[in-house]
Symmetry: C2
Subunit: 306 residues, 2 copies
């Protein structure tokens, strides 16, 4: 039997919310979908694409009567949205969010939630470097992890129903503690993004010296970095500001190790470099075996361009 919410409200209509709409529409998982976005342009696109049945100028209007409310705004905007919608939430409604950081979102949102409303914090580990209502697609979550960090007092029935919805959208769901989530993501996502942003910035500085060569001859390494560094600036600003402790902790370890490799290069210590590179190669195998990427031999290039 299909798990289904009679009315779903999407607050924020970017990549994640629009992909959820496509997936829920395709699977008949939502009766009606209401939506809110800050700009009239995004709201118009959402209607044009059929992402929402109704769009609203305020989040408060959008959530009226909704059984499931999805907060899909940048992490830094979650608190204000929660405060705004709180008096308008239907008793018994489930509220979730899709923020990349969980402790800060819980601190910002949970205090506003009225009794009888079920807040289930979540994070789909899925995305592309594109953003906005036109960037979504129904299979974004297929075989991707969606992490939930339910609080101790969570209503188990509400969590189970929402979890079922996510699985219907193709996601694999796990539950964990919010602090642990933030540390793991600092390693697997937040710090790599900051590093990619930095490297692309350095290349841009040098680009003025070497004209367009940095772009023209962008090899595999740099090309992949630019893709990561093309992600939404607002979203990522908020991620770093709200997962500050864990990101700084991992950055500290990163620079320590980088300095050790830098020293090995300066001293001509080939053994150190070789041992390090051999170790990291093995990790790649683990990721392919865990089903989180394919072993396509050319960075997906030939297939993607065919």
């Amino acid at each position: 039997m299909t798990i289904r919410y009679e009315k779903v409200a999407l607050i924020g209509l970017g990549l994640i919310a629009s992909s959820m709409s496509h997936a829920m529409r395709q699977g008949g998982m939502a009766g009606t979908i209401s939506g809110h976005a800050r700009t009239a342009e995004t709201r118009a696109v959402a209607l044009e694409l059929g992402l929402c049945d109704t769009v609203h100028e305020t989040a408060a209007e959008a959530v009226a009567g909704a059984d499931l409310v999805v907060l899909a705004v940048p992490v830094g905007a979650m608190g204000a949205v929660a405060a705004e919608i709180a008096p308008h939430l239907k008793p018994g409604a489930t509220v979730t969010d899709v923020g990349s950081v969980k402790q800060a979102v819980i601190e910002a949102v949970a205090p506003h939630m009225p009794p009888g409303v079920h807040f289930v914090p979540g994070h789909p580990i899925a995305g592309t470097e594109f953003s906005g209502p036109r960037s979504g697609f129904a299979t974004l979550f297929t075989n991707r992890w969606w992490l939930l960090t339910p609080m101790a007092q969570a209503d188990l029935g509400a969590v189970a129903k929402f979890r079922g919805l996510l699985e219907q959208m193709g996601a694999r769901v796990d539950e964990m503690d919010a602090a642990h989530h933030d540390l793991v993501l600092a390693v697997t996502s937040h710090t790599p993004h900051l590093i990619a942003y930095t490297m692309v910035g350095v290349a841009d500085d040098l680009g003025r010296v070497t004209d367009s060569e940095v772009i023209k001859y962008s090899a595999a390494g740099f090309r992949d970095f630019t893709r990561i560094a093309a992600s939404d600036p607002t979203m990522w600003r908020d991620v770093f500001l709200s997962n500050r402790e864990a990101t700084l902790e991992i950055l500290g370890r990163f620079t320590e190790e980088l300095f050790a490799l830098q020293r090995a290069i300066r001293m001509g210590d080939g053994e150190h470099l070789f041992a390090y590179f051999t170790r990291t190669r093995a990790i790649r195998r683990g990721i392919i075996e865990a089903g989180q990427d394919t072993a396509a031999p050319d960075f997906g290039r030939s297939k993607a361009s065919s």
Copy 2:
């Protein structure tokens, strides 16, 4: 008219050489192909796959009578191979290499080249994270850059003929100064690889704390890093040791910028972060416009796995 070498010798039978063999065979660009690899196993695979018509235990035997000799060994091994083959080179032969660093290779190889032999240093900016004789494929070079760094006294006819061969294999060819090549590649390839290796190493250290979670939940950022960090350890050790100056120069700039961003995170300076991330996003557009990657919306994931 097809440009063609009667006899081609491939010294080293990894990803690049095996891809060249496939491409040359497919286009009828080589009469016979001889090959040398250090291990008997690789030589057997080369015969089994038809990469070579003959294989030889020594590089000296392989180059006998060859009109084109391709040095496709790690950068650190180029000098020894050049010394070994020098007395056996056919007068008028063209010798090229495929090393990722050009100044160090020229210093190691050029002094050994006899008069009348044409040395044309080159670097195909193409690769995957796989290595070995089974990893090659004929389209590896399609629409990729192949940079040549011919020396001042180069024979123009020999360079033009070799350039034509590369274009027949689908590559786009440019010529530049070797020092300039090494700086540009330090930005676009060498430093990004070192950074990716480092980040994956950090994650591995933490992996012992968080069990397999780092791999299980590897998000886009980290997943791409692991792909980069799975490249051949020997090749990359040699790249860093032989392009030391340029790599250390770019690494210095990188850590400077990283520290500035780290400080912005610590101080909660959202404006700095937002401005930086907006700038780097624009660079991505430049790369897509330059034809060096596709705008495929999901890191090629859905297409690669379909």
